[in-house]
Homo-oligomer: 184 residues x 2
C-alpha cells in the first residue's frame, strides 16, 4: 500500500535488506505487502457466470466475481462476499481451482470453483451486467484480465469431478509480470 | 497494517460500508489488508526440516521455514527465500499442500511441499537451530503455531505421491479465530 502522509520516506531500516516506507520522524515502518484477491468460477448447468465491470480498471470488460480480501475474513468468505456484491449471487464453493501470483501489481489471486447456493443473480453496484455464458459464448476478446482467461481454462480442464492440486501461473507468464497490453 | 502517523483516524469513507484508516487532513485511505505468509514442509529422506525461532513471537519454539511475502515476488519465490533466510536451505517446491486463513491475525498462509535442491542447511539469523525430525521425533508440544501442526499433518496425509486439492483450515478452527493459547 502507499501512505499519503508526507513524512514517509523510502529507506533501508537497520537489520533489513531492502527499502521500506518509513516515517522520517518516528521511524515507524509501513510495510507494503501483496494483496489477496479472492474470486470464483460460478457455473450453472455448465454455463459460467460473468460480470461486466462498471468500474475502472477495465470498465465494460467481463470478469468473474472477485475482489480484495478484507481483514477479519477467510479467503472463502471473501469469495462469497464478492459474488454477493458484484453479482447478487449466493454461492457455495466446492474447492480451489488456482492460485496465481501477479508480481507486476503485487497480487495473489485465490480462485475457487463454485455453484449457486440459491437461484438468481443480478448486477451489483460494480457491475453493468451479469449473465451466464456457455463455453462457446465466452467473450474471450473482452475479458478484463489475463487471469480470467487462465482460470476459465483451469475450470474447463478440471471438469466437474474432484479437484486436484490448484493451478498456478501459466508458463508464458510464470511470475505475473507481463504487461496487461500484451493480452492474455 | 497500522500506520504510525498521528493524523490517521478510523471512519467510513463515502461509498464504502466499513471503517477505514483515513488521513484526517487529506482524506487518503490507508487500506489494511490480510498479509500472505508463504512456507514449506521441506523433507529429506522422510524427515522434516524444522527451525527453532530466534525471534518473537514464539522464540524458542519450532516452526517450518515461512514468512511474509514481499512485493514483487511470487508465492513460490517467497517460500524459497524464507527457506534460504531461516534455514540457509536451497529448496525446490513440488506443489501446494494447504491454504490457511488465520482471520484472527489477518493472515493467509500458503504452504508448499518441498525438498532440498542442493544439500545442506544451517540456522539463518532468525533461527537458533535447524534440524531434521522423523515423524516420531517431531516436538508437537513445542511447535510455534497451530498451522505448523496443521500443515505437518497435511504433509503426512498427502504422502509422497501427487498432490491433490490443497487442504484448508481444520474443522475445529474453520476461520482461524481460536486464540493461540488454546493450542493447536
Amino acid at each position: 500500500m502507499s501512505v499519503g502522509a508526507a513524512n514517509f520516506v523510502r529507506r533501508i531500516p537497520e537489520g533489513e535488506d531492502r527499502e521500506r516506507l518509513t516515517c522520517a520522524e518516528c521511524g515507524f515502518i509501513a510495510y507494503e505487502n501483496p494483496k489477496i484477491v479472492s474470486g470464483s468460477v460460478v457455473s450453472v448447468d455448465g454455463r459460467v457466470l460473468l460480470c461486466r465491470r462498471a468500474i475502472e480498471p477495465r470498465r465494460g470488460f467481463w470478469t468473474i466475481p472477485a475482489g480484495y480480501m478484507e481483514l477479519g475474513e477467510t479467503v472463502e468468505e471473501a469469495a462469497r462476499r464478492e459474488a454477493q456484491e458484484e453479482a447478487c449471487a449466493d454461492i457455495a464453493l466446492d474447492g480451489m481451482l488456482a492460485l496465481y501470483s501477479i508480481a507486476r501489481i503485487g497480487q495473489v489471486q485465490v480462485m475457487f470453483r463454485a455453484r449457486l447456493a440459491s437461484p438468481g443473480f443480478a448486477p451489483g453496484s460494480e457491475s453493468l451486467e451479469v449473465r451466464l455464458f456457455s463455453w462457446e459464448e465466452i467473450p474471450w476478446d473482452d475479458l478484463a484480465f489475463p487471469s480470467v482467461h487462465w482460470v476459465l481454462n483451469a475450470w474447463r480442464e478440471a471438469g466437474p469431478g474432484p479437484l486436484g492440486a490448484p493451478r498456478t501461473n501459466p508458463t508464458e507468464d510464470r511470475r505475473g509480470t507481463r504487461p496487461l497490453t500484451e493480452g492474455a
